[in-house]
């Protein structure tokens, strides 16, 4: 666990831990792709995989929080990369060329929360949400969506 926080020391804003002892590292949104590239170079192709991408909406802070959960292969540790995006303009670089497995997570987060992943050609509105909600232009997981 310490190896990863050493590696990302230049990018990290804060680090803390989530239950049950998973390491959380907060990085600014412009450095997400560089941080993931550094991680991939360290662990190689078969050492790490992207497990989950979670987006959470905070309407009172006017921010959307995005988490990337990574699992390393032989030692089974879970790391969390956390970034904050402004609610009016939630754009972040897509990591599809580094980890093609992030396709499902990125498509779902876009469809449900409205986060735009630049560079991902597969995102579209009708991926998960049925058409009567997409025609209203509403993102269902936002707190003020009325769904």
């Amino acid at each position: 666990m310490e190896a990863l926080s050493e590696l990302l020391k230049e990018y990290a804003l804060t680090t803390y831990s989530m239950k049950p002892n998973r390491l959380v590292i907060e990085i600014p949104r412009e450095r997400v792709k560089d941080a993931l590239k550094a991680i991939k170079e360290k662990y190689g192709d078969t050492g790490i995989y992207v497990s989950t991408i979670v987006g959470t909406d905070f309407p009172d802070k006017k921010q959307v929080r995005l988490d990337y959960y990574l699992v390393t292969h032989p030692d089974d540790n879970v790391y969390v990369l956390r970034t904050w995006l402004p609610r009016e303009d939630p754009r972040v670089d897509s990591i599809l060329d580094l980890f093609p497995g992030a396709l499902s997570g990125e498509c779902e987060t876009h469809d449900l929360l409205g986060v735009v992943f630049e560079g991902n050609p597969f995102i579209k509105r009708g991926f998960f949400v049925p058409t009567d909600i997409t025609s209203k232009g509403v993102f269902p997981l936002r707190k003020d969506s009325g769904v």
């Binding site: 192709d45 050492g47 497990s51 979670v54 499902s104 049925p130």
Partner: protein, 396 residues
């Protein structure tokens, strides 16, 4: 030779489970573009109805969510409620007694046995081997009886509660479950031999759907799909519930095709039977396994937790965040079929159309939908509908 016929197939998989299969499953459409008999490109379309669950969990209290979340999947409902309850226990700082942990492991391993038996039966049915399908389902009924003795219901065992389990296991019932397992094991070994030695199954399954280890981690495939290609990932190694005390082996095979994925599942079934026997013989009695539900805490601290569990299909993760109120702030569910099916469009390329259902079944999709395939003959401009079973016998 010029291409004059493009077969455009939206292929949907039929999972013939019958009336005991509850609702809330994702329908999936694979758009397969084929040139002659060889698959050239595959697009995966989804339009699902179980993500409404994430918004629904924000409107109900933590305790009502246990039952709502258990109904996301019918085949693996005990593992869904187990990981949600563990995440809530992390937030509330509660540790269940050891007897409850052992009973949870027993329920989850029974779930794994019946789920692996049904996917192997479906694989036999997709290949056309209906006799084997019926025989495996007959032996699976014994496992459903064991689940009924333990949890009170054959399919949806609402068995877990924050702080333990909801029903205890008496001595008489313990002997009955052990009888069921002892009768089941020689039958399972017979089916393992059939899958290993039968020539037809070998020709249909070996060499089909090869996934290299590098592709497995890059695309995030989990579960027996990954373990059939040599990658040793298993969420049970974390040692949650009683898995740090019950001995078990993780089955990994090196041939990267569909046959090795199905054999991983059969050998895991035998491992699960041994684990259940160990749990039944060594049940501790250190505390009451059933918490008193009338005295559960009504105050929830602020916090978040991330829990993983090894469902029969792979790694299932839950993220629960609470901000002090009665309802959770955010619950995020990522099922293993989400990664396995959507990210696997690359592995169909180069195989024939008759291999597409075999490859899809070997990933163990947790979906149930209609069977429909559309063949467009461009030259004549007509469309006809083919049944899924005819498709797996080859295109005329």
């Amino acid at each position: 030779m010029a291409v004059d016929k493009v077969v455009e197939i939206p292929v949907s998989l039929e999972v013939p489970i019958g009336p005991q299969h509850p609702a809330l499953h994702e329908p999936v459409m694979l758009k397969v573009y084929a040139e002659g008999e060889e698959v050239v490109k595959v697009e995966v379309n989804t339009g699902y109805n179980h993500r409404g669950v994430e918004k629904l969990t924000e409107k109900n209290s933590f305790y009502r969510n246990i039952f709502i979340v258990s109904r996301v999947c019918g085949i693996c409902n005990i593992v869904h409620s187990d990981v949600y309850v563990r995440a809530v226990e992390q937030v509330m700082n509660i540790e269940p007694p050891r007897r409850a942990k052992y009973l949870r492991v027993l329920a989850m391993e029974l779930e794994r046995i019946h789920s692996h038996m049904i996917i192997n039966a479906i694989m036999a049915e997709v290949l056309g081997y209906d006799t084997l399908f019926m025989y495996i389902m007959r032996d699976r009924e014994k496992v459903m009886k064991a689940k009924e003795i333990l949890t009170g219901n054959r399919v949806l065992g609402d068995y877990l509660m924050v702080g333990g389990v909801r029903r205890d296991l008496s001595e008489v019932d313990r002997e009955r479950i052990k009888d069921v397992l002892v009768k089941l094991e020689p039958e399972v070994r017979k089916y393992v031999r059939v899958f290993e030695e039968d020539e037809t199954i070998g020709k249909r399954l070996r060499g089909v759907g090869v996934v290299k280890p590098r592709d497995v981690t890059l695309h995030g495939l989990v579960g027996p799909t990954a373990r059939g290609s040599g990658i040793n990932i298993d969420a049970r190694r974390e040692g949650y519930d009683a898995y740090n005390e019950v001995p078990f082996n993780i089955i990994v095979r090196g041939d990267m095709d569909s046959w090795s994925r199905m054999m991983v599942r059969w050998h895991e079934t035998i491992e699960s039977i041994n684990m259940c026997k160990y749990v039944l013989e060594n049940l501790p009695s250190d505390g009451p396994a059933v918490p008193d539900e009338t005295k559960l805490s009504r105050k929830f601290p602020v916090g978040e937790a991330f829990a993983r569990v090894e469902a029969p299909r792979g790694e299932l993760t839950y993220y629960v965040m609470s901000d002090g109120r009665q309802n959770p702030f955010r619950v995020k569910i990522r099922t293993p079929s989400f990664n396995n099916i959507i990210n696997s469009g690359f592995s169909y390329i180069g195989y024939t159309i008759a291999d597409v259902p075999v490859i899809l079944t070997s990933y163990d999709p947790c979906i149930s939908c209609m069977e429909r395939a559309i063949v467009t003959d461009l030259r004549r401009g007509e469309r006809k509908y083919i049944r899924f079973k005819d498709l797996s016998m080859g295109l005329k």
